[in-house]
């Protein structure tokens, strides 16, 4: 991308709250005979953290992969940041790709690069004019911002713990100061303290950087602590979207079981005692 193109990018005036940044309509996905989604609709509004929940195998990750273009759906329309995502070519898609950041479930860090070099990859790709000293500085402060210790930058992913790898993945996802952040089970496999810290980090980053977050999670604490709205995936579609209070008022067996089961009650009680962030 050249410097001239930069003027085409949106400035403040397009960043209205309540604007729809992701819109999924009539999505259908299947693998062979197995239908994952059928007629799935979902909206993500600017400035919110949307939690996506659902039992194992309900296609949460497939939904994310469809939205970010890693999986071509059988049917349906997907719009991200006002652009239609289906059937577009790579050059056009590049403009959108530089406006989002994605944290994969296991970090998906490039194993032959150090953490800081991992962060530099997207920046180098889109902004080759940035000089190496500045690039290194940017990578270091991104690493620091994702809550990694100072000595983590020059380390290789294999030298990091699971929690640190998640943070490194987040640093890479934030490399281009994205508007939109996709997180696939960011707190899975973290200890409760680490998970709470991660929640707090995401909440902080969201407020400071004006992020919109699409968050897949199984972690009830995360849902209570940071999600503005929650979408429930079941029976091949999104059966309900709303705040947890709104969802609790619904008479859907899975939702009741999920939020009112022993773990759900513990998480809500914990939040009410003010033990967690937000």
């Amino acid at each position: 991308m050249t410097e001239q193109n930069s003027t085409n990018l949106p400035a403040t005036d397009t960043r209205k709250d309540g604007e729809i940044v992701i819109s999924v309509r009539g999505l259908k996905n299947s693998f062979g005979d197995q239908i994952i989604h059928d007629g799935l609709d979902l909206d993500l509004r600017r400035g919110e953290i949307l939690g996506v929940v659902g039992g194992s195998g309900t296609g949460k990750s497939v939904l994310m992969r469809s939205i970010i273009g890693l999986q071509t759906p059988d049917e349906g329309e997907i719009e991200v940041l006002g652009e239609n995502m289906i059937g577009r070519d790579d050059v056009e898609a590049k403009n959108i790709r530089r406006r989002w950041g994605i944290l994969f479930q296991n970090g998906a860090l490039f194993s032959t690069l150090t953490v800081a070099e991992n962060v530099e990859v997207p920046i180098r790709e889109y902004f080759p004019f940035i000089k190496p000293p500045l690039l290194d500085e940017i990578a270091s402060y991104k690493v620091a911002m994702s809550g990694l210790p100072a000595d983590a930058g020059p380390k290789y992913p294999s030298e990091l713990s699971g929690g640190m790898r998640k943070r490194a993945g987040l640093a890479r996802a934030l490399a281009l100061d994205p508007e939109l952040l996709f997180l696939d089970e960011p707190t899975a496999g973290l200890d409760p303290i680490g998970a709470a810290a991660f929640d707090e980090l995401i909440e902080n980053l969201k407020q400071r950087l004006d992020l919109t977050v699409f968050l897949i999670t199984h972690d009830l604490d995360t849902l209570w602590a940071i999600c503005d709205r929650v979408a429930v995936l079941s029976d091949q579609k999104v059966v309900a979207v709303g705040t947890i209070e709104e969802l609790l008022a619904l008479d859907h067996p899975w939702i009741q079981e999920y939020f009112n089961g022993p773990r759900g009650r513990a998480a809500s009680a914990g939040l009410k005692k003010g033990q967690r962030g937000a």
Binding site: S111, I130, E137, Y141, D177
Partner: protein, 368 residues
């Protein structure tokens, strides 16, 4: 924004003020940095007309403040927060692991190499020991012998290699015959082509070629399979369940290589003789019956023993190098590739060194 000619970034009236207009974001990081660097000290940065700022923009301002004691004016609450935030994250820059100066590094690398070579040798001995112990354990308690795994390896290492090894040695038989015939015809001694084909195929080339092919096909596969299993923690899972990885993975592969190598070598000898026979029949007019009779006269049975005794040793070396390198894989996926290459290079090298040793040995014991 930047396309409006009346509102541009840059020095505004006074020489020392850098006024930023519109978006101060990563998209314009390179040019903004250049422009800030061009403004002389004492620098003042005016953010009053910034419409949008991201962390990279804030960082550019922050480093000017840090390195040049620049003054910042006209910042909004939002940009002030961002500036504070990036200032918090300011740490000494380290992107790559530290490296020493060149001469020291050369010494360090040499030292590392020596230590690595020593450790590899010790590791190999340890691995050999573990394999022997596993073999002993399997012999002591034959019920732990994994028949299915071994048969599967026999199939992969032996049966599936028949096609390519047969074709390769058949062609090599033809090449030996053709080259030999061309030279020997000059002396009118083309009938000695049969001696050449018989002795060189049976004694040397069939076994050696089979070993090289098995190293390329199976030695590499051993290293890659075991290496991938190490990365995906399958080997650790086996250990914790109580299954010995040496017993489950290494023993079947060793057995397969050691048992299949002599069989494949014998088959390779036959194919090579067949290739040579067809050539002499077609090109020199020597009928097959005469060819076979002459082979029986000129190729001593000891040549067959020489060829077949070497084969299991080569198989053992190939499986040892492959499995050992596979077990050494640690960390990232690139290492699987490196170790697989190392396994093939080492096994072929060792096979050829051993072949030379065998050649001298058998000549000295009188099997000429």
């Amino acid at each position: 924004m930047g396309d409006d000619p009346t509102r541009r970034d840059g020095q505004d009236g006074e020489d020392n003020v850098y006024r930023c207009v519109g978006a101060l974001t990563i998209t314009r990081a390179a040019s903004t940095q250049r422009e800030i660097d061009a403004v002389p000290d004492p620098l003042t940065i005016d953010l009053s007309e910034v419409e949008r700022i991201d962390t990279v923009g804030a960082w550019l301002v922050h480093r000017a403040v840090r390195d040049r004691q620049a003054k910042v004016t006209g910042e909004t609450e939002e940009s002030r927060q961002l500036l504070e935030q990036v200032a918090e994250a300011d740490r000494p820059v380290r992107v790559r692991p530290e490296q020493r100066a060149a001469p020291l590094r050369a010494l360090e690398e040499l030292g590392d190499w020596v230590a690595d070579a020593g450790n590899t040798l010790i590791g190999l001995l340890g691995f050999l020991g573990a394999t022997v112990i596993s073999f002993a354990a399997v012999i002591a308690r034959p019920r732990r012998f994994r028949m299915n795994a071994v048969v599967q390896r026999f199939d992969l290492v032996g049966v599936r290699a028949l096609g390519i090894i047969g074709l390769m040695t058949f062609l090599i038989g033809i090449v030996i015959a053709q080259q030999g015939a061309v030279q020997l015809q000059q002396f009118g001694a083309e009938v000695y082509t049969i001696n050449l084909i018989g002795r060189i195929s049976v004694r040397e080339l069939a076994t050696l070629m089979t070993a090289i092919m098995v190293a390329g096909r199976s030695g590499s596969a051993f290293a890659a399979q075991i290496g991938t299993m190490k990365i995906t923690e399958e080997i650790d899972a086996m250990r914790t369940i109580g299954v010995s990885p040496t017993e489950a993975l290494v023993v079947p592969r060793m057995l397969a290589a050691v048992v299949m190598m002599p069989l494949l070598s014998f088959y390779a000898m036959v194919m090579s003789l067949l290739g040579g026979g067809i050539f002499v029949w077609v090109a020199l007019g020597i009928p097959p019956m005469t060819y076979i009779q002459r082979l029986q006269e000129v190729v001593p049975i000891t040549d067959l023993w020489v060829g077949l005794i070497k084969a299991p040793v080569f198989g053992f070396i190939i499986a040892l190098a492959g499995c050992f390198q596979g077990m050494l894989v640690e960390g990232n996926s690139e290492e699987v590739g490196t170790r697989t290459t190392a396994a093939v290079v080492q096994s072929i090298f060792l096979v050829i060194v051993l072949d030379a040793v065998f050649a001298v040995f058998f000549s000295n014991v009188g099997w000429i």
